[in-house]
């Protein structure tokens, strides 16, 4: 009993002292961003099953600056029904990147974007085939 209580005590101390993000998904996603990545922002996404799979459902704007290499790391919880997908559009609504390859069906866990046009871009997130899921998209700079 004492051992269990002592272990719990150590756990609470460790939880308080770690300095890691309290959301475990964000924490693990940050780690997968790599040592050269510098955190900028994250988007936490929780979606139910889509009624129709036509449009990506979670949208947010972000400014991206020329001569900067960004990394978009995509993570989802294990109980998500599909993987998290990101598509970025510019102000003219042109797709500048997508983490989903329509030809092969491959979904990439991260996308590096070498930005050469400063502007406001629209991030579009959804889960594969409009499935239900929880995930996070971490935006970092690569040095």
């Amino acid at each position: 009993m004492k051992k269990i209580l002592f272990s719990l005590f150590l756990f609470f101390i460790a939880a308080g002292l770690s300095g890691q993000p309290t959301d475990p998904l964000v924490s693990s996603c940050l780690k997968t961003s790599g040592p050269n990545a510098r955190y900028l922002k994250d988007f936490r996404i929780q979606l139910g099953k889509a009624a129709s799979g036509a449009d990506m459902r979670f949208k947010a704007n972000i400014s991206l600056w020329r001569n900067t290499k960004y990394r978009f790391t995509l993570c989802n919880t294990e109980d998500s029904k599909g993987k998290l997908i990101l598509t970025i559009k510019d102000e003219a609504d042109n797709v500048v990147l997508t983490s989903y390859d329509q030809k092969t069906g491959k979904i990439y866990p991260y996308v590096d974007f070498i930005c050469n046009k400063s502007g406001i871009y629209q991030l579009n997130f959804d889960f594969e085939n409009g499935q239900k899921g929880s995930g996070v998209g971490v935006v970092s700079m690569i040095r």
């Binding site: 004492k2 308080g16 961003s33 990545a37 947010a60 020329r66 974007f113």
Partner: protein, 304 residues
Amino acid sequence: MKGRSLVVLLIILSVIISCRNSATKKGESSFASADSISFGEAQKLSAEAIADISRNIASPVEIANLLQEMNVPFSPEYLATSIDAGTQKTEFDKALTLGILGADLGYLNMYEKTGSSIDILSSIRKLAEGINVGQFFDFETIKRVSLNKSDLDSLLFLSIDSYTRIDEYLRDNDRGHLSALMIIGVWIEGQYLATQVMNHYPDTLLRDRIGEQKIILNDLLLLASPYCNDYPKFTDLCRNLREIRDKYRDIRITYTLGDPVSVEKDGGLVITQTETSKVDMTAGQLAEIIETSKNIRNKLLVTN
């Protein structure tokens, strides 16, 4: 008996930890009497629109990164060290200063001058508590990670996430005017940093980044506009922002078209944008922007 003490200790610890991470409704206080104004009639932007604008402001971390790539050495001269958090009387002053110091914190963190950031962290805590959002700024953890100098990415996350949560909480609780002030403060200080460095270390990339701020200046004014006529200090701030925008009026940003090129690498995808943007700005226009940005930022430090 010892077992019982341990249980009690565990309960106390868990309460402390959970309280530290929880958002309470404590922050829903009204303005201090000194700047008590009604925002009820102000035409407010939607929470999503404000969130988008907040994300569009160039992060001071990105500006500091650019300075590092230019091999510009760190200088404490650019910091708003003259600010005394204890003398900020109104919520207006506290929120704006919170933004200014947030930008300074990003600069210090990127240069890993984390030992020097403790004073700024203390001021940020005081200001955050002053507008009843102290629960979102985990001072002790950020301080510890800063002093350890072990994990820059965690430090950046903790600092930026604290500000994001403060911003979200203010917007969600009808205190969008304070959120707007904080965001404007971040931008003004980031702009000051970029323009001051440009004065000492002229560089094409930095020059362009300064010119490219034209892209988000209208959004910044949009953010402030619902409150511009409601309170004298806000009116002055809006006038200042319009003054900077006017300096940008004749700057041109042009684009060349191109299709993105993608390559698979190490299990991920690398996309190079071939579309480009170009800034046309004369030396005179740049000089005016540098001067105006400095004057406005320094005036805010004095009046706050």
